[in-house]
Symmetry: C2
Subunit: 350 residues, 2 copies
DNA sequence: TTGTAAGCGTTATCAT
DNA sequence: ATGATAACGCTTACAA
């Protein structure tokens, strides 16, 4: 492949018989440069098809205007929406977004962090993997004084900002909704307890029961993975019980879908006999034959706010340890799978 | 924010009283460096928490090991899957992936291209926007001798490699399948004709009709957008006709879903009275009450192959104009929405 | 085997 | 208003 030849400010300076410094200043609209030279330089640069080499700029300035995003998988609806939010907020500020996947493995997470630090990114956005327990690898980021923002899945690290959903509230809303619909024996399909988000959804569930004076029954709580089969299995297990549940609040939409499928297998009426609520508001939930009620995590907004938090952090020049914790409100989309009473007109539209 | 201090090879060289060049060589495992020095340098580097500045390396070498990907929207299931494929193929080779969105606007596409070229990416992957007509902005990429690979949506540019689906075949397979299921009056909901992919699906549809000696009826072809309402509207229009269709092949899953919804409104039996086939195999299609038949575009594979094409291109050092056109085979997932005869066991599993 | 010095393309400091 | 020069952190001839 032929070496690609780049036009530099030196080429322009030679052609115009002026110094490279002048060209640089003219290009940067420095007030000390005469209008005439500026125009001349601009014109010549365009003619020669000059393009600024942002690499050299980055080396000089010590910042690349690149940020890294580390997520478990980029093709999950939730994560790709967050990424989109970040991209859209940051692009107008001249930043570029580098993405990396952890595949839910803390080892990959470490590698990706190192690789990103090597490329001199100006910041890192990250949603930790399921297997992340300690904060050792996170500490390296802080040591380098690279701004870090957690979103959705975080671990507690002093001095690190985060933007997360109020998962407690989400669990509380979902459960309260079921109670309002008349459900009394509400089961909970919880997620991986290693992740704070699932613990919080569970706590929200318990709090709602308590507030409505409904006794908490531990045998109604099963841990599931975010797989359809896992949700179906949970129903099988629950239906071994003497007292069957009359509602299921799943901490994830896939588990909820599996539950629905197994309930239908058993000819159980949804929502009349058993109501179901999921979590995440995955796109598929609203396209089901009887659409599923689910808690929306506002991922696009989460991305945008995470980006804003980063921008604030970068612009604060003095104190080097601002920590901002943003907690977003979840939104409950009530659909057929839990709607025993009236049709919620507000959310009936797609 | 405190200026972050970086450890350079000079810091190491001072501490060890050797030259920076030796440090550099030792770090790069240069055979001319003694084992002893290498070990010493490695140890000291680790102690001092040295991290290579890949920016300086990039400036020196003229390559960043970053590639850019431009897609209409990153949070569309198809695109995020392709991106995932590219990322997974390229990460082991030390590349990082920068993503950018065009929002289906050619103007944004141009801006993103320029921005990416400025950051000195080593290659660009791109799926053109709906509004892209000419190749002027593409030519700039070629002028800079930056490897370019189109995926899925391409425009014809001499010397540019591409990885696309055989959309003709996809349309042909879908239509032939419907014919085999006994359908005689097959309607087609086509997509934006500005995009080659939709024209090809349409051509595949026509070819299948022809092969089976089924007369082509232009009033059975309607242009739709990739919206649910658009598919529903199409059914309304089609059902004005004297001779109603007995099958619908939609060039997109959302239009197909809209069609299904409207057919159900009209109490029309699917698939017995009208069979429906979509295109893209969006995740939601298999979770529908009666899952939808759809043509899969193997996006993850498409990403991986696009990445491989790029790698080949980079490694070819001599001729600077290898053009590779890869065409992937679509895969038909037969599900309930078109399955009049037997259950296809092979694809029955989720 | 190791050291010296130039260079990648900018910008910033200090002169003029 | 403009020019000369150093510096960002690294690699790589060329010397030694």
């Amino acid at each position: 492949m032929k070496k690609r030849e780049k036009v530099t400010i030196y080429d322009i300076s030679k052609k115009l018989n002026i110094s490279a410094a002048t060209v640089s200043r003219a290009l940067n609209d420095n007030p000390k440069i005469s209008k005439k030279t500026k125009e001349l330089v601009a014109k010549t640069a365009a003619e020669m098809n000059y393009k600024q080499n942002r690499l050299a700029l980055a080396l000089k300035k010590g910042r690349t205007n690149n940020v890294g995003i580390i997520v478990p998988y980029i093709d999950r609806s939730f994560f790709s929406s967050v990424i989109r939010g970040i991209e859209e907020e940051l692009t107008p500020h001249g930043y570029h977004v580098i993405i990396a996947q952890s595949h839910e493995e803390v080892a990959n997470e470490m590698e990706q962090i190192n690789a990103l630090l090597n490329t001199q990114i100006d910041g890192i956005f990250m949603s930790v993997s399921k297997t992340t327990q300690s904060a050792d690898h996170i500490q390296k980021v802080l040591d380098e004084k690279v701004p870090l923002v957690f979103f959705d899945r975080k671990i507690e690290v002093k001095g690190v900002s985060s933007v997360v959903l109020d998962d407690f509230k989400g669990g509380f809303m979902a459960t309260s909704h079921l109670i309002r619909e008349g459900c009394k024996r509400i089961a909970h399909l919880s997620g991986d307890v290693n992740l704070e988000i699932y613990r919080n959804r569970y706590e929200g569930y318990k709090a709602a029961l308590k507030e409505h004076k409904i006794p908490f029954n531990p045998s109604y709580v099963l841990q599931t993975s975010s797989k359809i089969e896992s949700g179906a299995q949970a129903v099988e297990d629950l239906w071994q019980l003497e007292e069957k549940p009359d509602a299921i609040f799943a901490a994830g939409d896939y588990a909820a879908l599996g539950a629905i499928q197994e309930l239908k297998n058993r000819k159980i009426n949804i929502p009349q006999e058993v109501s179901v609520v999921g979590f995440s508001n995955e796109p598929f939930t609203k396209y089901l034959e009887s659409p599923m009620t689910s808690v929306d995590q506002t991922p696009h907004l989460m991305g945008k706010i995470a980006a804003q938090v980063f921008l604030e952090q970068v612009n604060e020049s003095q104190n080097y340890s601002i920590e901002k914790k943003v907690v977003l409100d979840p939104e409950l989309f009530v659909r057929d799978s839990s709607n025993r009473t009236t049709l919620n007109l507000q959310n009936a539209a797609i």
